[in-house]
Symmetry: C2
Subunit: 223 residues, 2 copies
DNA sequence: GATGGCTGGATTGTCGACATTATTGACGAT
DNA sequence: ATCGTCAATAATGTCGACAATCCAGCCATC
């Protein structure tokens, strides 16, 4: 088995840079500049841009180059809706086929989440949140749904803080996750899907609120 | 407004060729050959292949070139499951916001479908089926979900005959579509989603059956 | 006969050069 | 001042050539 080149390849490097926010939305990505910055040829950058365009992280206009894709508020909500539908499916499947090991790991994550909430560590909670969902994807064993859900998550990443850091959100989120876990534990597909959909519906509501708030000029971020 | 170049571009041409079955699954796509066939340069073909790879119609292995992606039976089922989830969402939204015009068009399609079923025109029915779903996407006004559902449909196209031409399938399919339409007509989101999910679940069952049948050597296609 | 390395042909990957296309800013006419 | 024209510049799009890689068939060896 061959170990893949760590991350010298342009696609992963550029993808990481975009997802981690090193480029602003709508920022232009000039091929030559990007190529130099990552120490690869322009050819590789071009290929990466095409992929990222198809993936929705970049927009590519003929003869006008590439920009980091700007996700509108409306689109962010759409993305979360689709994620809700997909994660519902994944939760259902996970409830059907989760192994004892899967459940054990999930239990652990839940308990760590509880801890983080108690000490008010919203960022740590957010990481565990991601981990929780990923464990479900693994248990569900449904590559098609998982791949699409992953792509969507990357696109919406810019909005995650607007929900995660909302005061009081973590507590409710924890309850929702516990409900999901309980359904998985008892291998209850309908329950798991319903709990997951409830959860994502809450996220969407929170996001909608946050967006409306921002639009009205409200400021709630620390600092 | 600018009219886009009809289809001289490699991506659309190649995509069309693959979706319409001019290349077999697993067939190798040699860049030079494809380029010549479509009268474009190798560069354009390369770009097209990268896009199609990301889109799931082609697999691209480093240094080993491109092949038409072979969708396994298992994956076809997965794709239909995801489509079910997405189309459920779309149906829900369509029920919420379908205009009188949308409903009028849908009514028309349904009545043509009825006609086709009566005269046993399975292929004509299949076309109307596609049209029906597309009208729902339009009414739902949800670009994100519609785009993804469209991509999935392209991937699974090879399997559509295995359900559509199954004897007796058309009648039941018609009933299911009528149920969906009734829910849309009364602006009943829950009902529309449920009806759509039932419909896709039936499709999946049929597909599962067809696959098992083929595996046992059964032949049911005309000719 | 099976195994393992070698070689030639075919194919993909990359680079640099150049053509094509947008964009910017200056300049002059109205 | 405003608009349109036009040249200068910067970036993208395309091509051909070459390097790197893979693969099939051949041959020597056991």
């Amino acid at each position: 088995m061959r170990v893949r080149a760590p991350r010298s390849d342009a696609y992963h490097q550029l993808r990481e840079a975009i997802v981690s926010g090193q480029f602003h939305p709508n920022e232009r990505l000039v091929e030559a500049a990007v190529a130099q910055r990552m120490g690869v040829g322009r050819t590789a950058v071009r290929a990466a841009l095409v992929r990222l365009d198809q993936e929705g992280l970049v927009t590519l206009e003929p003869n006008r180059g590439a920009r980091v894709r700007h996700i509108s508020d409306r689109e962010a909500l759409e993305i979360e809706e689709v994620r809700g539908a997909l994660e519902g499916l994944l939760a259902r499947r996970a409830a059907e086929r989760a192994t004892a090991d899967d459940l054990q790991e999930l239990r652990q994550v839940i308990s760590e989440m509880r801890e983080r909430v108690e000490r008010g560590d919203a960022l740590g909670y957010s990481e565990l949140n991601a981990r929780f969902h990923q464990l479900i994807w693994t248990a569900a064993d449904h590559p098609t749904a998982a791949r699409i859900a992953g792509d969507l998550k990357s696109q919406a990443i810019r909005f995650q803080y607007q929900t995660a850091l909302r005061p009081g959100r973590a507590q409710r989120s924890l309850h929702e996750h516990e409900a999901i876990f309980n359904a998985l534990k008892t291998h209850d597909p309908d329950g798991a899907e319903a709990a997951m959909r409830d959860h994502l519906a809450e996220v969407i509501d929170t996001l909608r609120w946050a967006i409306d708030g921002l639009r009205r000029g409200e400021r709630w971020l620390p600092g």
